[in-house]
Symmetry: C2
Subunit: 344 residues, 2 copies
């Protein structure tokens, strides 16, 4: 593969190269890449603007030994879209800041950018700016995303009420198990030229880790069904952690049921193999980018026909605590074990 040094293009040349044939599609985008700022017009439709920002650092959030750059770009964009959907909004624009060391070639960055662009095309989002600069070590990606929503449709974290249903989409802990699989196979292959990683029968786990999607489909279905969640978040740091945020900000308690947690069978198989507790993984594994939401008991009938939404419990009074009810009826306090990036 060709390797073009970034220094042959320089900073401006690099940005120009990566963004040269970008076309904007959002009517709100008035000016994209190429000036001091991007310009957006959100007037006239009564919409409010949502803004979210995420940073991904090499060695912390991703390992390029097994994460292809294109997937990384895709994921870096999608995790931001997921935050916008989690407010019941629609993502519209992003800016992309990249810090890259000399290890990376222009072709590498094209790969990364092609993933970002693919995600933007799929979700109808415009790339409107960004900064590209050299770094001493590794790759840093910082993306900021704007979105829009009607003011009365925005869903915050603080609206959960006693007796509300607690729902999640998709399945839980799968992205985390995908990461475990990648790490295991990396160690198998390491220092052994003849070994190849074995992912057979577990491709779905990899997909969930390497190429997550934001649940735009669920947001659309809830809207069509006339369901307005009372609180909502996306699950980026694990179910327990997110649910404790909702309960804390809403001033309520919760009870969720171990046997109701949606878990994929490939994840169960791998957890067995690796001697991991799959329930712990489902509660605390991050990066699933599924939605966690609460809604009124009155919405139950409307909720049932929608695919891929699972009722896992209900909201209680604050005094009742935040509980996980086990298979034998035992009650355990929910803990945000998460995977604290500042520890270890």
């Amino acid at each position: 593969m060709q390797r073009t040094e970034i220094s042959t293009l320089g900073e401006f040349g690099l940005i120009k190269h990566l963004t040269k044939d970008l076309k904007t599609k959002q009517t709100s985008t008035k000016k994209g890449v190429g000036d001091d700022c991007a310009v957006m017009d959100f007037n006239g439709e009564g919409l409010q603007v949502l803004m979210t920002s995420d940073m991904l650092l090499e060695g912390i959030h991703f390992n390029l030994e097994y994460v292809p750059l294109k997937h990384l770009g895709y994921k870096a964009a999608v995790v931001n879209f997921s935050d916008i959907y989690a407010m019941n909004g629609t993502p519209t624009q992003i800016t992309v800041n990249l810090g890259v060391s000399k290890r990376f070639s222009v072709e590498d960055l094209e790969e990364l950018y092609s993933g970002i662009r693919l995600a933007c095309e799929r979700y109808g989002v415009d790339i409107v700016g960004g900064d590209t600069c050299s770094s001493m070590t590794g790759l840093t990606i910082s993306i900021t995303c704007l979105g829009v929503a009607k003011p009365d449709e925005i869903v915050y974290r603080n609206g959960a009420k006693q007796n509300d249903l607690i729902c999640v989409t998709g399945n839980l802990g799968t992205a985390y198990m995908g990461l475990q699989l990648l790490e295991r196979e990396r160690l198998v292959v390491q220092g052994n030229d003849k070994a190849t990683p074995d992912f057979q029968g577990k491709e779905y786990l990899l997909e969930r880790q390497l190429k997550p999607e934001a649940r735009r489909d669920i947001i659309e279905k809830l809207r069509e069904a006339g369901i307005h969640p009372t609180a909502m978040m996306d699950i980026s740091d694990g179910l327990s952690s997110e649910l404790l945020h909702i309960c804390g900000q809403s001033g309520v308690g919760c009870a969720i049921y171990e046997d109701k947690l949606p878990i994929d069978y490939q994840a169960v198989v791998l957890a067995e193999e690796m001697n991991l507790n799959i329930v712990t993984c489902a509660l605390n594994g991050g990066e699933d980018y599924e939605l966690l939401f609460t809604c009124s008991l009155n919405d139950y009938e409307k909720l049932v026909p929608i695919d891929d939404i699972y009722l896992i419990g209900h909201i209680t009074k604050q005094e009742q605590g935040t509980l996980l009810v086990g298979r034998n009826g035992e009650e355990l306090p929910l803990k945000a074990q998460g995977f604290n990036a500042f520890e270890g």
Copy 2:
């Protein structure tokens, strides 16, 4: 000084700690820190939204041996405000993404954040979100800023016309000379316990490097005087580089005059001492965050009474090239030497 490890707070604890008593002031800010997204309402006033983003990396953009963290925070915010003013807009909200290694304590980040907050207070900007995560090495700061402007008041880079006046504010090359001074004194002190850095008589150079301001005052004065620039940029990468952007995007040429370039006397003195060509520094030294703009010849009368604006030349036909006219009338092609962060 007390040192609290970041791991004692964890990621959420850290964000909460750093943002705990933030008050939002912009009427457009509906929801700040604490949910998946910030929420803004830009409706009803016919304003367009501006968005800009900048990334600062340790070892590339700053050296913590001589840059105090509070100043760094201040500067990281102000450089974004500068981009918004350069479009003739008003900055309104920022999100702050930080990547920090274990070398940094909670107190360090408080310092950094206090600088960001001070800048936001001075410029009336709300901090509405961000991400804080650990990094393998060093400090990474990525800030995204939103601003507003009336659609017909936004100034792009592509509007310069033949015969327009070329103006700059403040003085040029000063921040670059400040950096040279800091580097020189760092080397003097290095490995010599008894030596102390000598900045006497050159404090202004340090201020320009360490604590730049965005030229809100100029934007306000131009507005009051009824002057609408035809093209504008802030000078972050050096006058030559920026002027070539304006000429390129506007499809015009330019002639600027060496003897018209505003240069501070402290910068001249240091350039003498260090055997540097001060004109080269003024043309190519970055980080001044002054404004470069073009305006109609008809605005000349209105322009003259405004303090701290300097006419340095005029816009010509594209065929005439982009020229620097020396003190003896010699014409040299303008080059964007800049200080390419991808070279060396």
